[in-house]
């Protein structure tokens, strides 16, 4: 088989600063995804029994992979500062748990988070590009991105134009991602596909390939504003796109399921899927993140249960 793969040629067109070339006409269609079989596969992986030392290690990893998120109109500096403190030391009783990978906020709150997290390795992620709908002109989206970076965001979580994706205007989707990547400068780019609006695994697969080829460092399932948000099956579809890209180019793209992951048990299921699909390299916060808000306390509760042998009341964990 030729080593000159489509992915590799796309990569070679990325200069250090050059924008990627437009969406090429000669893309082969992505491989089809069989709905029944992919759902069966994730259901089989849900049966892995994760107990004792594996459970503790997995839960600790999940905390370190968490993008602790608040994305509401009513967000205030006080709320964000509290969340930052939680991200820095999630568990009072055990300072070796955490910190979380990042705080994810709207652009206006980036300076607050940046200040609260100064001197730590916790990153500040900002949503941008007319989040969550993305239904604004491109210059607005790019300006949104640039300003978030100027305000101090280390990571940008952009949304793709789902309307363009479903209308078949893949070049528009590709070009917007590529332009946003350029606007990011040094900031890492996560490309939100909003899989809950894409309708089928085949479209998710195609959107994943476009997001990767256009320069995304991560691909991410959801904004958290649409139901369904992340599911294990949709995550596996995206991980398979990441795997094929890696096979072809050696380049590792990150993955972030967001929204809908609320329990420690679900988080462990996702980690099992990552472990058995992409292997060791992806089992760290540089390549895998959870976008969540309620998940952290459930994980902490399970960690405390493993430590003390008894469940604590939910009131024993700070609600930030």
């Amino acid at each position: 088989m030729t080593q000159e793969s489509r992915g590799q040629s796309t990569l070679s067109r990325f200069g250090a600063s050059a924008r990627p070339a437009p969406y090429p006409l000669f893309y082969p269609p992505p491989p089809p995804v069989d709905q029944v079989a992919i759902e069966e596969r994730v259901a089989a992986l849900a049966k892995r029994s994760i107990k004792k030392s594996a459970k503790i290690a997995g839960l600790r990893l999940a905390v370190a992979m968490m993008d602790l998120t608040t994305l509401e109109g009513k967000d205030t500096p006080g709320k964000v500062r509290a969340l930052c403190r939680k991200a820095l030391s999630p568990l009072d009783s055990d300072s070796t748990v955490g910190p979380c990978a990042a705080i994810c906020v709207y652009p206006n709150l980036v300076p607050v988070a940046k200040q609260a997290l100064a001197g730590s390795k916790v990153k500040v992620a900002s949503v941008a590009t007319a989040f969550p709908s993305g239904q604004s002109p491109l210059p607005v989206k790019l300006d949104d991105t640039r300003r978030a970076v100027e305000l101090g965001a280390d990571e940008i979580d952009m949304v793709i134009d789902r309307g363009a994706m479903l209308a078949g205007d893949y070049a528009k989707v590709f070009d917007e991602i590529a332009a946003t990547k350029e606007a990011c400068g040094p900031a890492h780019l996560k490309v939100i596909l909003e899989t809950g609006e894409l309708g089928s695994y085949d479209v998710v697969r195609k959107a994943s390939e476009i997001g990767i080829a256009a320069g995304g460092d991560f691909i991410k399932t959801s904004t958290g504003k649409v139901t369904p948000a992340a599911t294990p099956a949709v995550t596996l579809v995206m991980l398979e796109a990441i795997r094929d890209h890696y096979y072809a180019t050696g380049r590792r793209i990150g993955m972030k399921p967001a929204g809908g992951v609320r329990t420690a048990k679900q988080a462990l299921h996702y980690l099992v899927i990552v472990k058995e699909t992409l292997g060791d390299a992806w089992l760290n916060p540089d390549l895998f993140r959870f976008g969540a808000s309620a998940l952290l306390n459930d994980v902490l509760m399970q960690l405390e249960k493993e430590r003390t042998g008894a469940y604590q009341a939910s009131e024993d964990f700070s609600k930030d």
Binding site: F26, P28, D244, E276
Partner: protein
């Protein structure tokens, strides 16, 4: 070549260069299924006429756990006299109770057995994994639930048999002698007993000598269900016991699942008698993967096709026919997938591939794999650490296999896959059918029309489209050619236990 053309050319292939690392960044802790509540007796007698009876010879044989090599129990060895007793008990029960009973009443018993299997599911699954070596997740999620489902399904038919064959009168055959294999011990017992009872026959069943325990646990369940004495009799033993059963003059129907070699011997032995016969024998199924298939799901289908139950599956997808243009990609992905197969303790809930059923079977697999290497095929075995005790074989595949080599023609009945290529759909048909077997086949393509086109041309009793090794009590199962004849399951399966007038 212009720059645009070069780019276009580069975009046509999907490469498979870089390998993933499946190491120890996050290891699963051992998750053994607790066994303390399971009580295996020191010794098991024969279950004849509703009572537990010592064998006339006084002889017993041991059954071992293939994963630990420890003796689990000793089991009575039935000789021809015991078999005769069992057939007499079955005949007596047939005349006295079973043929007189209305279908709706028989159904109550069959449903009761189904429910009792569900109630004892955990115990049965554990014993199955201990005695046979299969992973607990398979006995728990496949074997035992399917066994219960088979009884439920046939319970539903018991009072509706006249509707199964429109305008025809049906009546039971009498006494069925049933001989089952060691790969799905409880499930095969269910496949045999459930339709026989539902159709109004009585049964003498002989389980395989390496895996008799769950059939004996089933006998206890039949006792608890207060099935009339002698309606089901279970005689344990080896080949001679089976031969005595198949050859017994008062048996009306013989049902055998096992090797083609033994199946032929049985057919010879009963030739000229008026016994009805169904044989479910070996296989060397083609699992056909087209370039337009959902490749990642097809790889899961390959895994499920050949490594499910250590490849001890008569319908295993043991010959992979892959379109040449995606051969390298599929092999690359398969190699990485093998790295995540967990081989070891059958009772660990995370084990994917358990123990080979017996030392003899392990030797047979080893011998055939050596033959494959000798014939020049390239071997790849998963880099897994095998337990020091017990009978284990690392999941293996061969590339560069030709149609003429032994590993492409003979049934290995182990976790060993032979990979061949084809160029066109016609060639896929030709190669898939180029075997003495014809039990099953798989087709992987995103094009529905191609599935139907190929399915019509394949000489196989069961064909799966974009899936593999799926079983359902309502779906008839059985083979073409040397894979046997007769169907089990579904409406068609009823015919094997009825005289249709």
């Amino acid at each position: 070549m212009s720059k645009a053309l070069t780019k276009a050319k580069a975009s046509l292939g999907r490469g498979a260069g870089f390998a993933l690392d499946f190491g120890h960044a996050w290891d699963y802790a051992p998750a053994p299924e607790a066994t303390d509540h399971v009580k295996i007796a020191r010794r098991y007698e024969l279950f004849i006429g509703g009572a537990w009876r010592a064998p006339r010879s006084g002889k017993y044989f041991a059954t071992h756990s293939p994963s630990t090599e420890e003796k689990l129990a000793e089991v009575a060895e039935a000789d021809a006299r015991d078999v005769d007793d069992a057939v007499k008990a079955a005949r007596n029960a047939y005349d006295k109770y079973w043929k007189k009973m209305r279908g709706a009443e028989r159904a109550k018993y069959v449903f009761r057995i189904a429910r009792a299997i569900q109630e004892k599911a955990r115990e049965l699954a554990i014993v199955e994994s201990m005695d046979g070596g299969k992973p607990i997740k398979e006995s728990r999620d496949v074997d035992v639930p399917l066994a219960a489902a088979h009884f439920f399904y046939h319970g539903g038919w018991a009072d509706k048999l006249e509707y199964a064959f429109h305008g025809r009168r049906v009546r039971p055959l009498g006494v069925a002698g049933q001989i089952i294999p060691w790969n799905f011990p409880l499930l095969m017992a269910a496949w045999k007993i459930a339709p026989a009872l539902a159709c109004g026959n009585t049964v003498v069943l002989k389980p395989a000598e390496t895996t008799p325990l769950t059939a004996l646990f089933l006998a206890r369940i039949l006792e608890e269900c207060e099935l009339p004495p002698g309606v089901v009799n279970i005689v344990t033993g080896a080949g001679e016991t089976g031969a005595a059963l198949a050859g017994h003059p008062d048996v009306n129907k013989v049902a055998f699942t096992g090797s083609t070699e033994v199946g032929k011997r049985i057919q010879k032995a009963i030739a000229g008698s008026r016994k009805r016969l169904t044989l479910e024998l070996g296989g060397k199924a083609a699992n056909v993967i087209f370039a337009d298939a959902p490749i990642d799901q097809a790889v899961e289908g390959i895994i499920n096709g050949i490594y499910f139950n250590q490849g001890h599956v008569c319908c295993a997808g043991s010959r992979l026919l892959v379109e040449e243009s995606v051969h390298d990609l599929v092999v690359h992905k398969l190699r990485d997938r093998l790295a995540t197969l967990r081989v070891g303790d059958p009772l660990d809930k995370n084990t994917d591939v358990g123990a080979i059923n017996s030392k003899m079977q392990l030797e047979k697999i080893t011998e055939l794999v050596a033959a494959g290497e000798k014939e020049g095929a390239e071997r790849y075995s998963a880099p897994c650490k095998l337990p020091s005790k017990g009978y284990f074989f690392a999941p293996t595949f061969f590339t560069g296999v030709s149609q003429s080599s032994r590993i492409a023609r003979e049934e290995i009945f182990g976790p060993v896959l032979s990979i061949l290529t084809f160029r066109t759909p016609d060639e896929a048909v030709e190669k898939a059918n180029n075997t003495m077997y014809g039990l099953s086949a798989g087709i992987w393509t995103d094009k529905g029309a191609k599935i139907f086109w190929l399915a019509q041309k394949l000489k196989a009793g069961v064909i799966w489209g974009n899936t593999y090794n799926k079983f359902d009590a309502s779906s008839p199962f059985g083979g073409y050619k040397e894979s046997g004849f007769g169907r089990e399951g579904g409406r068609q399966g009823l015919g094997a236990y009825l005289e249709v007038e």
